[in-house]
Symmetry: C2
Subunit: 243 residues, 2 copies
DNA sequence: CGATCAGTTGAGAATGGTCAAATTCGGTGG
DNA sequence: CCACCGAATTTGACCATTCTCAACTGATCG
């Protein structure tokens, strides 16, 4: 039994009860662990045979660049999340990913993952679960972009980030430390940086949230939750589904 | 060796070379095949222990309804696509899905899929691949909503739909039959139905695409592709990745 | 032959974008 | 400690895209 678990192991264990064999296979994913500076691009859109990464420490984001140079951030990754998992199953990768803060990440080769799948089927199921959870977040983000106003969009985004961080054990209902700039928010929410600033000011003046100096403070989380139409349970997992 | 393959089998075979065992496991997914009328809701957001479906014939869409009653369509499903795959791995399903046309679909229980995973690891990999392909489409859609103008968004959407249908063998570069209403387009693209109408008129007047009477005609597909910044290859798979 | 639903069009309003110019803040070198 | 630099944030004025409301057309169907 391992005492010190990686964030990924902790996450997957919340879904499936993993055997010792599964755990040691997972441990092998963490051999090539390295550190990358803030801003470093780990995954390059269009690259072939790109390997994936498991984030162990820090924040990252995945995004696409449009022909006109604009950027759309698809999601942010926190410790325990995969980076570029789709590159394992596709010849070329369809998005880029970069470190938001200085990060620690383990490189995982496509063959590592595919081999693990054939020998450890429960692990395969667990990884599919993790991928589904990612997709659920992307879907929620898509709804956010398609049908919510800038203000509600921002509120929803900050609440979701807060919920994710709470699950990982960082931050609580009062707020969280947040290394994102207003440009990150703009690129994630499909807004201009100028408008992000105005929306943040308005939310602050209404006494709902404060985003300043690398910290998000939920001044009135219940009002904010109502405004955003946010379901606080949607990422929650009430104990392992598979035993 | 089966002569008549299901659309799903054909799709998965484009990615992994499936053994006869895999194929017969896959065939078992198609026992409970049924027909549903246009508009029927097969998957209900918030439901527990919801089963999934494999679409065999017709078009469907998955979507979320917001507190204010607005709808955001996340994706359209064509023959060979899964409906509600995430319900297999989550206790409650986070979106709804309904038939756009009259459809034929096979109900698949969560246990069918999870059992198949433990006995047929290649199939597990193939399903993860299909899920990743779905996610790639959702990501592209997200970028569409976040960073493209209504006109470019529409152009991109119609080209993508055309590309998917071409892969399935329906339609070609000249156009395709399309059962969607302008309301479907509005709910998918995050626009009002009124604006959808204006955008379609403009694209038609510019001689780029015509969307009328259940048919999409690419009047000038190369100009349209440039306008949309569309990569025609992004869904393409050049022969099986795993042998 | 009404009723209904998808599609069309116009006018005015609102949301969010662009451009340009401050201002603040965290370093960094002297 | 202080002056200075670049990056991030803030604000104002004006503009563009898209929405809303409302009315009208045309097809289909019982």
């Amino acid at each position: 039994m391992l005492i010190l678990q990686s964030p990924l192991t902790r996450k997957l264990s919340a879904f499936v009860a993993l055997s010792d064999d599964d755990l040691s296979t997972l441990a092998r994913f963490h051999r090539r662990r390295r550190s990358f500076p803030s801003g470093h691009e780990l995954i390059h859109e269009g690259e072939r045979n790109q390997s994936a990464f498991i984030l162990a420490e820090g924040w990252a984001c995945s995004y696409k660049i449009l022909p006109n140079g604009e950027r759309q951030i698809v999601n942010f990754q926190l410790p325990g999340d995969f980076l570029g998992l789709r590159s394992v199953l596709f010849r070329t990768i369809d998005h880029s990913a970069q470190a938001v803060t200085r990060i620690e990440a383990s490189e995982v080769l496509a063959s590592d993952i595919l081999d693990a799948f054939s020998t450890a089927p429960r692990l395969a199921t667990a990884v599919l679960w993790a991928a589904s959870r990612d997709e659920a977040m992307v879907v929620e983000h898509l709804v956010n972009l398609g049908r919510r106003s800038a203000e509600v969009r921002m509120a929803h985004f900050l609440l979701e980030l807060g919920a994710r961080l709470k699950l990982v054990g960082v931050g609580d209902n009062s707020g969280f430390d947040c290394p994102l700039t207003q440009y990150h928010l703009a690129d994630a929410l499909g807004l201009s940086a100028v408008h992000v600033n105005r929306v943040l000011r308005h939310l602050r003046e209404e006494g709902l949230v404060t985003f300043q100096k690398g910290r998000v403070i939920f001044d009135d989380i219940s009002k904010l939750t109502v405004l955003a139409g946010f379901d606080p349970d949607y990422l929650d997992q009430e104990g392992p589904l598979l035993r």
